[in-house]
Symmetry: C2
Subunit: 303 residues, 2 copies
């Protein structure tokens, strides 16, 4: 039986949207919840959530725990977009075809909604009882916090800000992206696995090897995502992309395309895809079709 990725994705997306909708209350002090919902429930591709869910399924994870992890990662991603779009950062007005949060609700609300979404991500990972063991809760919080902070996403964004109008080497560019987008994508895979066989309370003999291979898959996927992102910023249609195209060049940001040219960037993305699939083969997981397809679709995407 062949794996129907599109059906899998559609089913998962419906559940992720419903779960996010449930976690972010519209009823809230001074409409803060409405602003948070605007920033999250906006038709994103949910790549990070899908990576969590695919990794959890591949490792036999607890589905409820994995859904919480998936939503938490999407909340962190959404808050980072809200803050990155603000005038003091990228000053972007369009996101997925709609006005950015600060355009729609003002800067103060955008700042606060981002802050509250980061807190909510950790709240979602630490429910009162039953759903997840304390061990899985602590592990997921640890993984998400490390991937989001100064040694991950926020640190990468700091490098990005400091790199405008500078020429970076490939190593410097890779380091920036490993932190800025790679860390959270890699953490998505690892958090999914933490709901499954890599749950610390039942980690098996082969856990160390599996952890390393999954981390290699996540790292390759994370970097490939960014290389393709840089390519799409140059070649894609703004309407299809749903955000302002060509903004990297307009902002003098270093990109893989600027560094190596479009053809070499495409070759590099293919190489990273091959690395990801090799790492996945080494995991030898019984149920890895979604992880495999996610890597392939990510590199072949048009938007």
């Amino acid at each position: 039986m062949t794996f129907d990725f599109d059906a899998w994705r559609a089913a998962k997306l419906a559940r992720v949207e419903a779960a996010l909708d449930g976690f972010i209350a519209a009823q809230s002090p001074a409409d803060l919840g409405l602003v948070m919902r605007y920033g999250v429930l906006n038709g994103g591709k949910r790549l990070r959530a899908l990576l969590v869910l695919a990794a959890s399924e591949a490792t036999g994870g607890n589905a409820d725990a994995a859904m919480r992890a998936a939503c938490a990662v999407e909340m962190i991603h959404a808050y980072s977009l809200i803050h990155d779009d603000m005038p003091c950062m990228d000053n972007d007005v369009l996101r997925r075809g709609k006005p950015t949060v600060h355009v729609a609700y003002g800067e103060a609300q955008a700042l606060l909604a981002g802050d509250a979404l980061q807190a909510l991500a950790f709240e979602v990972l630490t429910p009162d009882e039953g759903v997840m063991s304390a061990s899985v809760q602590a592990t997921l919080c640890r993984q998400l916090a490390r991937a989001s902070g100064v040694g991950g996403m926020a640190g990468g964004q700091a490098i990005d800000l400091a790199s405008v109008s500078k020429t970076l080497t490939e190593a410097q560019l890779r380091r920036m992206h490993e932190l800025k987008t790679g860390a959270l994508l890699k953490a998505s895979v690892e958090m999914g696995a933490a709901c499954g066989v890599l749950d610390g309370t039942r980690a098996s003999h082969g856990a160390l090897g599996l952890r390393a291979h999954l981390a290699a898959y996540g790292a390759a996927v994370g970097l490939a995502f960014q290389v393709v992102d840089d390519m799409l910023d140059v070649i894609a249609d703004a309407a299809l992309l749903g955000k302002t195209a060509g903004k990297d060049a307009a902002h003098n940001k270093p990109t893989y395309v600027a560094l190596m040219g479009l053809d070499a960037a495409e070759t590099y993305a293919e190489k990273l895809l091959a690395q990801a699939l090799t790492a996945l083969d080494a995991c030898a997981l019984p149920n890895d079709a979604a992880l495999r397809e996610l890597a392939i679709r990510l590199v072949k995407r048009q938007s």
Copy 2:
């Protein structure tokens, strides 16, 4: 033997500063760590950290876990000040006698440093091994996330923003402050206790009653703090206060002093102090002198 609160505080403060210094690495991508350090290591009074440590000592808590909880709460507090001071929020230029973070480093760095500090708070609560059980890690993350987010500090700040130039009832004002400053102060007490007898792995028969009494102490202390804050904004000297005085009135912010007048606000603060001490008596903890003195000093403070 009488309790020497000043010696206790001095010893704790030295350890908190050293711990914060150790947790926030100066070495970081694009100087982000330096900006975070500027925002945290600035001579704050560390009231929240002291509440955590006092509550932990009163309940026989693990000192290493409590120090991590104390630092995490201070990181959340510091990030909130950094973001609140930004031009799109309170637009304040002076904090504890020094230029605010966005004045010193720019808005983008201030935004990022705040974001990274929130993530670091949860990182500090989830160390790899040994220091704290997974159960205590999960509990502390849960308490901190709930107190920081839409149902706590961020929600209160949203009400604050929406209340400028409005007349609030006392109930509305209390609700705003219960969230904006009260939730994190109350959580500080509860997190300290979660390192002690209220650690879920060894909660005793009397835990429910103790939890309620400690929560009442924390709530009264949190509200008293805000009432005194409002009074000091009117009567204190800016040099002593270390921040811009009179800014509530200048920003048309509703305060207890505006609502009830200075004398009634002072009477109210004394009443809240009495409530806090009564709740503490009901806890019947063997070692509660620091919690008692903290409540008293907080209401009697001049800055």
